[in-house]
Subunit: 379 residues, 4 copies
C-alpha cells in the first residue's frame, strides 16, 4: 500500500524530525522508540509500513531540509550521526516540496494546493495521500455563515478570505481525495462545511493538537484523581519554551487557542473545572526542550488538603514526530478501509480530540487498540 | 447486611481516621471524598452501607481513641469540629476494642484472637466480619516448611513461633470464618497454607499494602510511558515521612519489605526494570504529611533524552482511611456472594496486589467496575 | 522610648498578623521567630522594645480585628490559641483605628490624616510615630510636574488629585513629623517632592515592598551565580497566590508594578538581564500560603548547560509581619537619632530598595549590622 | 611565574575537563566562565596566568587523555569542537603523566612520588608546583598515633601502611616542596603530622572537597534562613549521580565520608542541626549531569509552617574544573608570597573547609576578596 505523507509546514521542526526519523528507522539506524504503532497491540498488516511511505509537502520557508536538520542537531534534538547518515535521502525529499502560491481568491489558492496534491499522488502512483498540518498555531478565526454549509463555503471562497490557512488546507485535501490530520490547535477541518466535504469525498480526518507533554500528563493524572474520588481544587500550569513554536505562542491570539486546547481535559475528565490557569511563556534560551511545571491542590477525606507538583522537561519535536508517523499510518489504513469523516478513535494522540470521547489516556488507548484489533480480526 | 469491621491496629492513625470518617460521613457531617465506592460505577446494593458497619478491633497500645483523634487534629490530619462531633460515638467504640493476649504457643494466641472475633460477631448479631490489618509493617519472615501446607502449619503452631503476627492474624480470621484484608506490606495471608485455610473456610481475602501516594502515581505514569513507547531509563524515588509509620519504616527490615512492594509496579508495567532506587527516610518533623519526590529519566525518538519530576505532599492517613472503608464494603459483599480465597479484583487498592493482575491503575479500575457491575446485573 | 506604630491598612492580613504577633511575643506567648532585630548582631538598646509600641491605624474596611484574626486562624496563618489569648488586647487596639475620611481636595484629606496622626501621638504621649503602609498594591501613577517639587505639590493638592493614596499618606506622615515605611510596591514616598518634604521635616523613610519569598531567594541565589562566574541564561518565575493580595495583583496594573519590583534584583546583581518573565496568578484556593516556582537555566565552563528549579511554599503574612515590627523599631531608632530622608541601610528588608545599594542579601545584612552596631558603639 | 599544576588523578573527569578548559581558554577558544579568579575583585598580578601553567600528573588508569576527553564529549560535558581544537596540546600533556609505582613500603612509594614531582619541576624550570588531589573519594582511615606526630609518622612509613593514598600524596608533595590542594573529601593533609610537615617545608595547603552543587546552595540558603531568623526544622537531600564518582560514592565507606562533608554547613551556619539526611544514590544513566533534590521545612512567626524545595541539575565536572584552575592560581600565589600551612582564606571553594571559618558563601567571598585585594595593595 504505497502511501503519501504530505506535510503542510514541511520545513518546521516537527516535520523534519519526522522525516529524519522515518528515514533512519527504515534504514535500521534507529529503533522506533516513541512510535506507538510499533507496540504489540497496535501492530497490524492493515497499516502501511514505514518503507511504503513517500514524502512531500508545502512550506513558505525555503530553508533546505538538511540545514534545518543540522540546526536540530545543534539544538540537541537530533543526533549528528543520524542526520549525516540520512542526508542524501533527505535531500531527495527536497524535490517533493513546494512553495504554496497565493491566488487572487481563496478558491484559486485551493486549486493550486489541490493540483500539487494530485500531481504528487500521480507522480508516485500512490494508493492514497495523508495531509498532515504541522504549521504554526493560528489565532481562532471569526465565525462566518459559510463555515456552516458547504454550498455557502464554495461560493464564498470565490470572493472572500473566509477560511484560515489550516481550514483552506483541509478543504484542498478533501477536494483532492486526501485524508487530513491536524496536529495543531488551529481550526483545521473543524467546521461543519468541511465535515460535509469530507463525507462527500469519502475521506477521513483526525485532530486536534498533538498531545506531547503537559496535557499528556493531565490525561493520566486527572483520571487518577477522579478514580480515587479526590477533589481537585486548583490546577495551575506554566509552560516555558523557545523555538519557533514558542515565539508564535507568545502572540496572544495563538496563545489563547493553545490554552483552550490544553484545559479541556480537566473539565471533561473531572466533571468540573478546578481553579487555576495554564500559561505559556516564550523563553528563547530553552529552545525545543520545553519545561512545564504544574501545581495541583486537592482535598481528600474529611477535607484534608494535599498537593502535588510535576516538572516535565520534554523535547517537543522528538515527542511529536513519531506520533505524526503513527497518525499517517493509522489514517491511511482507515481511508483504505473505506472510513470517512471524523476519526474519534484517534483521540489518544490529541489534546483536543474530535467527537464525544473520553479524555482519559487509558480509555483512549483501549479504544484505539480495539479499533485496530478489529481490523486484524477481519483481514 | 450487618457487617463487622475489625481493625488489627485499631488505635493507629489509619484506623482512627477510618473510624472518625465513617462516623462523620454516616452522620452527614462530611462528604465521602476519597471513598471510591461512592463513585457512580461502584455504587451497588450489593455493598453494605456505612450505616451497617459495626466497629471493633485489637491493639497493643492503650491510648484512648479520642486522645488519638485529638493528636491527629494537632497533626493537621483531622478537623477539630469533626472529632468533637463524633467524640461520643468514638468513645462507644472503645468498648469493642481488645488488647490481644499472648498465649504460651501461637496456637493458644490464635485461639484467643478467634474467640474475640466470634464474640464480636455474636454480640452484635453480625452477618459477617471483615478483619483489616492496619498494624505496622513487619520484616519479611524467614521461610519455613509449615508455610506451605495447612496440615504442617496446624501442627507447628503448637510448638513453634512459625508465623509473623500479620499471618497469625490471617490464620485466626479464617479460622473464625472472617474475611481478611491486608493494608500493609507484611506477609499477612500470602502463604500457601493460609490460602488453603481460606478456601477451606470459604472466606475471601485481599491485599497487599494500600496504594496511597508514590505508587499510585507510578501506576498511572508508568503505563503512560509504556503506551507511548517511551523508554524509561531510570526512576528514582525518595519518600520522607514522620509519624509512627515513618519511625517503623526507618528500621532496615521493614524498609526492605516496603521498598520491594513499591518497586513491583515498574517491572510489571514497563516489562523491564529501569535503573534507580526507592528510598524511605524518617523525618519526624514532616509527620503524617508525607513528601515523595521522584525523578524519571527517559528517552524518546532517535535517542532524545528527557526527564520528569514530581513531588507529592499527601496525608497518608487521610488517603488510606477511605480505602479501608471501601475494602471492607467490597470484601464483605464478596464474602456474602460466596467468594472465597484471593480477590485479585481489588488490585486497584494495592501496591503489591495478589495474583497475576495488571498494575495499571486504569486497567485495575475497569476490572473493579466490571466486577461490581456484574453483581448489579444479577441482583 | 514610647513609639507609635500606625498602620495604613490596619485590618489587612499583614497588619493583623503583626498586631497579634507583637501582643503575643510581648506576653511571652510566642518566640520572636522571624524578627531579625532579635538576632544577636542587631540587638541594640537604641531600638524601642516591643513593649514600648503603641498601635493605631487607618483602614477603609470595618471588619473588626478579632474577626479578621479568626479568619487568619481558619486560613492556617495564625494559631487559635494565640488569637484567643490576645483577643482582649486586640479589641483594645480597635479604639485606636480610624476610617480615613475623604475631603473635597487631597489637601483636605491630608489634613484629616495629619490630625489623626497628631492626635494619636499626643493622646499616648509618644516620643514618635512610625507610619507603615501595608495597604494593597496600587497601579503606577501617571507622571505629574508636581511630583518633582514640593512647592508645586503643595499648590496642586488644593485642586487636583495629584497623588496616589500611598503618596498622600507619606505626605501626611511627613507633615505630621512621623517617619514612614512603605512595605508595598506602591509609589509611596518615592517622589522628589516628598523626599524634599521628609528632609524639611527631619523625618526618615524606608521602602519599598517587603522581601518575603521569591525575591528573598533571588537575593541570595543571583549573587551565588555571580560569585561563581556562572552565566544565568534565563530566570522565569511563577507566583500562585490567593487571598486579598492575590485578587488585587490579578489586576493588570497592580501586577505590572509588582513584577517590576521583583525583577530588579537580577539586573542589579548579575549586571545583565537574563531572559524570562515573572508571573503572578490569582488562585483563590491557595489562599495566603503562596507558591512560587522558578526555573533558572545557566551555563558554566566551556558552555556546559545546567539548570535549577525551586519551589517556595511560604505564608506571606507570617513572613511579612515580623519584618514590619523590625522596620518600626529600626526606623524609630533612626528617627530618634536625628536621621532624615532615605534609609538605604534598610535595603535588607525590601524587594526594591531605595537608593544605590547592593541587592545581595548578604551585603545588605552586613550594612544593616554595621549600621546598628555603630549605634551601640556610640551609646 | 612558571607554575606546575600536578594532578593526582590526571585521567579522571574533573582533571581532563580542567586540562581541556585551560588549553581552550588560553587559546581564546572559550570564555573563562566559571573561573572566579577572572572576576574583577579577584583579578591580580599576584596570580600566575593560565598561560604560565605547565601540566603533569599521576594516574593508575592508562586511558589516554584524548580518549577520555572524547568520552566527556559523548557524555555532554565537553563540546566536540573544543576537544578537536586542543587535541594536539592535550596529547602533549600525555608525556608529563606518570603511573605511580607502589614500593615495598609507603616510604618507598612516597620517595618515588617525590622524585616524579622534583623531576617535573626541574625539567620545566618551574618556580613552583601545586599538587591537586582529584582522585576518587576514600573511606575515612582508622586513627593511628603516627597521624599526630611527624617524627612518629616518618618512622612508621618505613614499615606500616599508615597513611591512606591521599595523605601519602600530601606527604610527598610537602616533602618535595610543593603546595597541595585537596579537592575531595578524603583525609588528604588533614593530619597533625602533615600540618607539621607543611609548616616545616614552608608550603601552604588547602581543602577539602570542592563545593559545586547541593552544598553550594546550602551555603547561601542556610545563611538566608539564619539572617531572617527563620527556624529550619528539617533539611533532607537526595543526590542522584552516575559516572565514576557515582559508582565510587555508592560504596558505603566513601558515601559516609562525603555525606559528613556535606552536612557540616548546616550545623555551622544555623547553629543547630535540623532533622533530615543527605543521601547519595548511584544511577548510571544520569551520568555526570547530577541531580540533587532538597526539601527544607521551616517555621516562621507564631509557628507558621512553610517549606521550600530545590532541584539542581548540574554538571559536576564542568562546575569543578574551573575551580581547580582557580585554586592552583591562588595557592601558587600564596606559596610565592611565603605563606605556609593551612589556607583558610580559600574556604569559598570547599564543602568542608579547613580551619575555623564561616560557612556562609558571602562571608567566604568577602574574605577571599580581601585576601587577594591585600596582595594588590602591596605589590
Amino acid at each position: 500500500m504505497r502511501t503519501g505523507m504530505w506535510l503542510a509546514g514541511a520545513r518546521g521542526s516537527v516535520a523534519v524530525t519526522s522525516l529524519v526519523g522515518a528515514l533512519a528507522v527504515r534504514a535500521c539506524l534507529a529503533e522506533p522508540v516513541g512510535c506507538v504503532t510499533e507496540l504489540a497491540p497496535l501492530r497490524s498488516p492493515a497499516l502501511p509500513n514505514l518503507a511504503d511511505l513517500v514524502f512531500g509537502g508545502h512550506d513558505i520557508s525555503e530553508l533546505c531540509l538538511v540545514k534545518k536538520a543540522q540546526s536540530l542537531v545543534a539544538a540537541g534534538v537530533l543526533p549528528a550521526s543520524i542526520v549525516d547518515a540520512v542526508g542524501d535521502e533527505l535531500s531527495a525529499v527536497e524535490a517533493e516540496l513546494r512553495t504554496p502560491s497565493r491566488g487572487h481568491s481563496q478558491e484559486e489558492t485551493a486549486r493550486q494546493l489541490i493540483a500539487d496534491l494530485v500531481s504528487f499522488r500521480e507522480r508516485h502512483e500512490l494508493d492514497q495521500v495523508v495531509v498532515v498540518n504541522v504549521t504554526s498555531t493560528e489565532p481562532m478565526p471569526a465565525a462566518h455563515p459559510a463555515h456552516q454549509d458547504l454550498g455557502l463555503l464554495t461560493e464564498a471562497l470565490k470572493s472572500e478570505d473566509v477560511l484560515p490557512p489550516s481550514a483552506l488546507y483541509a478543504y484542498a485535501a478533501f477536494s483532492a481525495g486526501c485524508s487530513y490530520v491536524d496536529f495543531t490547535p488551529s481550526v483545521g477541518a473543524r467546521l461543519p462545511a468541511l465535515d460535509q466535504l469530507a463525507l462527500a469525498a469519502g475521506v477521513p480526518y483526525a485532530g486536534h493538537d498533538g498531545k506531547t507533554g503537559e496535557t499528556l500528563l493531565k490525561s493520566v493524572l486527572a483520571p487518577m484523581f477522579a478514580m480515587r474520588n479526590l477533589h481537585v481544587r486548583s490546577w495551575s500550569g506554566t509552560n516555558l519554551l523557545g523555538g519557533g513554536d514558542g515565539a508564535n505562542l507568545a502572540q496572544p491570539e495563538a496563545n489563547a487557542a493553545k490554552v483552550a486546547s490544553k484545559q479541556r481535559v480537566l473539565r471533561e475528565t473531572l466533571g468540573y473545572e478546578p481553579e487555576g490557569h495554564t500559561r505559556i511563556d516564550y523563553v528563547p534560551d530553552i529552545g525545543d526542550l520545553k519545561t512545564a511545571w504544574d501545581l495541583i491542590t486537592f482535598s481528600g477525606f474529611l477535607g484534608s488538603r494535599m498537593r502535588m507538583e510535576f516538572t516535565w522537561h520534554g523535547c517537543d519535536s522528538a515527542l511529536a514526530a513519531p506520533l505524526v508517523l503513527d497518525l499517517v499510518r493509522l489514517t491511511a489504513a482507515a481511508h483504505s478501509r473505506g472510513l470517512s469523516g471524523r476519526l474519534p478513535q484517534l483521540a489518544f494522540f490529541f489534546k483536543d480530540p474530535i467527537g464525544e470521547v473520553s479524555h482519559s489516556l487509558a480509555d483512549q488507548w483501549r479504544v484505539l487498540c480495539e479499533w485496530v484489533g478489529g481490523w486484524n480480526d477481519t483481514e
